[in-house]
């Protein structure tokens, strides 16, 4: 008889909405062994093809069943530098788990029956981290080795730095913000990715000899040419997709309309949840509306609802999305969590205008109801507005979470760096090298918004190509 998947333990919704502590508790060793034992060890495992970096999933799961956690860790680390992070944020239901043979054919994302590969990976990653394996097989950089500059400290930059440092290359990492981690720091809230996990991964890079240089903006403080003349033999650009998109509807610049990036940056990076102990304020409305259906929207809504709870405001946070739940690009678990926590969902709704008062504060949002039409270029059914279906919702704070565009602070002053019509950097897909020799790129700055593991996959490819060239 087929065993049931091992349910993951979570902090009860009523408790977790009062704080920013991690929601998903992770598997115990016993649960890990039980879940691992469900894997069929397929002869031709499909799961690995669903993983953007092609982790040998079958093998690491087998190693788990043998209680060889060290071996499992090394298997994952061959392809993925930060299993503790990916095990927490990977949209596995669209990737490896969707490809698992236990997922029903034709389903839009993984079936419940699919092996919980990400939770197993998290267990193994945390095991590795706690057992100080993160710095495994480090070659200490010697004084005369080649020096590489990594620009941006998001998952792409971190991964590239780790790969190069392991090979004995001296790495200097430049980050324009005062803290490291990119979206992992300013975007993804601590209740999904605890900061000690992120800090621990960053510290392990430090231990490997990577030098971190925060508050340093490449393009402003130094040009790419100047980096080369300073003795860097290669440059990796992990600039990310940093510019928030807006809806372009009337009233969007009312004072209490935020981009998700601003809202999340205030709370996550600047710790506005602890205001006034910390000094960055954030508005906490009584009727908060979040526009969008991706991870950013879920994160914004769940942060907003927590802020309401923590400030004794009756929770009222609503997500507006123009398609239906099936089309939402967010991780399914986050959608479930948002619902459990009391976030309301208004689907097939398109905002038309924000209505505000004399002081420039929004009080209502005007919307239109939609229905689904034919699939569009993304393969998802296109929302079509229903004429005369206008309605208004009370809204004294809005958060726009409809996507991000390429960070242009470097590319806008570096014309020799070729970009496409989206301002993304163009690379050679085999090497991730840009139009400038010796300059490589990866992550969201290539091909637009993606996932953490995709960013790391590109960074790894780039690191390999850089190793091939610098060692010549």
């Amino acid at each position: 008889m087929r065993k049931d998947p091992v349910k993951i333990k979570e902090v009860a919704a009523a408790v977790r909405v009062n704080n920013f502590q991690e929601v998903v508790a992770g598997y115990s060793e016993e649960e890990t062994l039980h879940e691992a034992s469900r894997c069929l060890q397929c002869k031709n495992p499909a799961c690995s093809s669903g993983c953007p970096v092609g982790i040998d999933i079958k093998k690491f799961i087998y190693q788990i069943t043998q209680k060889d956690y060290q071996g499992a860790y090394l298997t994952i680390r061959e392809k993925n530098n930060f299993p503790s992070i990916c095990g927490r944020v990977c949209p596995a239901e669209y990737q490896c788990r969707n490809a698992c043979v236990l997922t029903k054919k034709g389903s839009p994302y993984a079936s419940d029956q699919a092996i919980n590969i990400h939770f197993l990976e998290r267990f193994v990653g945390d095991y590795g981290m706690h057992n100080q394996n993160s710095t495994f097989n480090v070659q200490r950089p010697t004084s005369n080795v080649k020096k590489v500059a990594v620009v941006g400290s998001g998952p792409a930059g971190l991964c590239c730095a780790g790969e190069l440092a392991r090979a004995g290359i001296k790495v200097d990492m430049f980050e324009s913000l005062h803290k490291l981690g990119g979206v992992l720091r300013y975007g993804i809230p601590p209740f999904r990715l605890p900061r000690d996990i992120l800090d621990s991964e960053i510290n392990s890079l430090k231990a490997m000899g990577v030098t971190f240089i925060p508050n340093f903006i490449v393009g402003k403080n130094i040009t790419l040419e100047e980096l080369f003349t300073q003795g860097y033999t290669g440059i990796f650009l992990g600039l990310g997709a940093g510019i928030p998109s807006f809806l372009g509807i009337p009233g969007e610049n009312f004072c209490n309309v935020y981009s998700a990036n601003e809202f999340l940056t205030r709370v996550n990076l600047m710790s506005a949840y602890a205001f006034p102990k910390t000094h960055t304020p954030v508005t906490i409305g009584r009727h908060i509306v979040v526009v969008g259906g991706g991870n950013t929207a879920m994160d914004s809504a769940r942060v907003a609802l927590r802020l309401q709870k923590m400030n004794d405001i009756a929770p009222d946070t609503t997500i507006l999305y123009r398609r239906t739940e099936i089309e939402m690009p967010a991780r399914r678990l986050e959608i479930e969590h948002a619902k459990e926590e009391g976030v309301k969902f208004r689907l097939l709704v398109k905002p038309e205008a924000f209505l505000g008062d004399e002081q420039g504060l929004v009080h209502n949002i005007k919307c239109l109801q939609c229905e689904l039409g034919e699939p569009d270029a993304s393969g998802r059914r296109r929302p079509i507005e229903i004429k005369g279906s206008d309605f208004e919702l009370e809204c004294d704070e809005a958060i726009i979470a409809i996507g991000l565009k390429a960070n242009q602070i470097l590319t806008s002053v570096t014309p020799q760096l070729k970009t496409d019509s989206y301002a993304d950097v163009i690379v050679n897909q085999d090497t991730m090298e840009t139009s400038v020799k010796g300059v490589f790129a990866g992550g969201d700055i290539v091909g637009g918004e993606g996932t953490v593991i995709e960013a790391m996959g590109m960074a790894k490819k780039a690191a390999q190509a850089m190793l091939d060239t610098v060692s010549q």
Binding site: P214, F216, I217, F246, N253, E262, N407, Q408, I409
Partner: protein, 276 residues
């Protein structure tokens, strides 16, 4: 990021304008007139933008001049020579387009005087004829008078209370000057009402006018949209698209409202932390 010098430029009723010099070679090397930095006093602090008033490439220092306005500027004022800032990033924003405009009028109001100083110097060096108009509420609030006077071809001061120079507003002088000569550019920085009124006057005379906007900011690198302003009916991010914009098409009303949004919270914080 050490503070190497500190000087109180003015002190009126406990509200001081302070000049600090900070050692930060990688910014000093690159900063151009019109650009700004974002700084944090402490790890738990806010990020606030301040204009780079001057930079010394040899010493690797930049000079900032700020008014103790609210919580963070008061916290910054507590730092002494030798203290270090928690974070400092820049230079941010576009540099001022320095070229031959012919005759230029610079208008500075309040602490905005500090912001026009680097631009004035650069425009002068580029061979422009410089007329400077400084405005302050009262004589003791006036900063950088000697420095600006010495580089200006023509120099005017107005005070609201008549304690120095001409009694009245900078726009009064502007209204006298504009009909008499042909000016290639008016460049104005100061409180929003001042910049708005300057724009009104220069529009009547059709003299091109640039202003540097003080929108609220967080990152200062284009990442959040906190600093968005409406210029020429389009949303622009002041930190990366500005901070300078064509004065005639700025939506002043929106900017005024957006800059007020955290006033109550900031005040609460000042009371709580007993920072006056």
């Amino acid at each position: 990021m050490n503070i190497t010098e500190k000087e109180v430029l003015s002190d009126v009723g406990g509200v001081r304008v302070i000049r600090i010099t900070v050692h930060v070679p990688h910014i000093a090397r690159k900063a151009k007139p019109g650009q700004f930095v974002v700084l944090m006093v402490r790890e738990e602090g806010e990020r606030i933008p301040l204009t780079v008033v001057s930079n010394d490439t040899l010493k690797g220092t930049i000079t900032l001049i700020f008014q103790e306005l609210g919580f963070t500027t008061k916290l910054l004022a507590q730092l002494q020579e030798g203290d270090s800032l928690y974070a400092l990033a820049g230079p941010l924003g576009h540099a001022t387009a320095i070229k031959q405009y012919g005759k230029v009028i610079l208008v500075g109001g309040g602490v905005g005087i500090a912001e026009i100083y680097p631009v004035a110097k650069a425009l002068k060096d580029a061979g422009n004829h410089l007329t400077t108009i400084l405005g302050a509420r009262t004589k003791t609030l006036l900063i950088l008078e000697q420095q600006l006077r010495s580089i200006s071809d023509e120099f005017h001061v107005t005070t609201d209370d008549g304690s120095y120079g001409k009694k009245g507003f900078v726009t009064d002088v502007l209204k006298e000057l504009l009909p008499r000569g042909s000016y290639g550019l008016v460049y104005a920085v100061g409180p929003i009402p001042m910049m708005k009124n300057v724009a009104g006057v220069t529009k009547d005379f059709q003299t091109k006018t640039m202003v540097s906007l003080n929108a609220l900011m967080v990152d200062g690198t284009g990442m959040c949209g906190c600093c968005r302003v409406t210029v020429d009916n389009q949303t622009r991010f002041s930190c990366v698209d500005g901070p300078e914009f064509d004065a005639w098409t700025v939506d002043w009303d929106e900017l005024t409202k957006r800059n007020r949004v955290y006033a109550a919270q900031e005040k609460h914080m000042c009371n709580l932390h007993k920072v006056q």
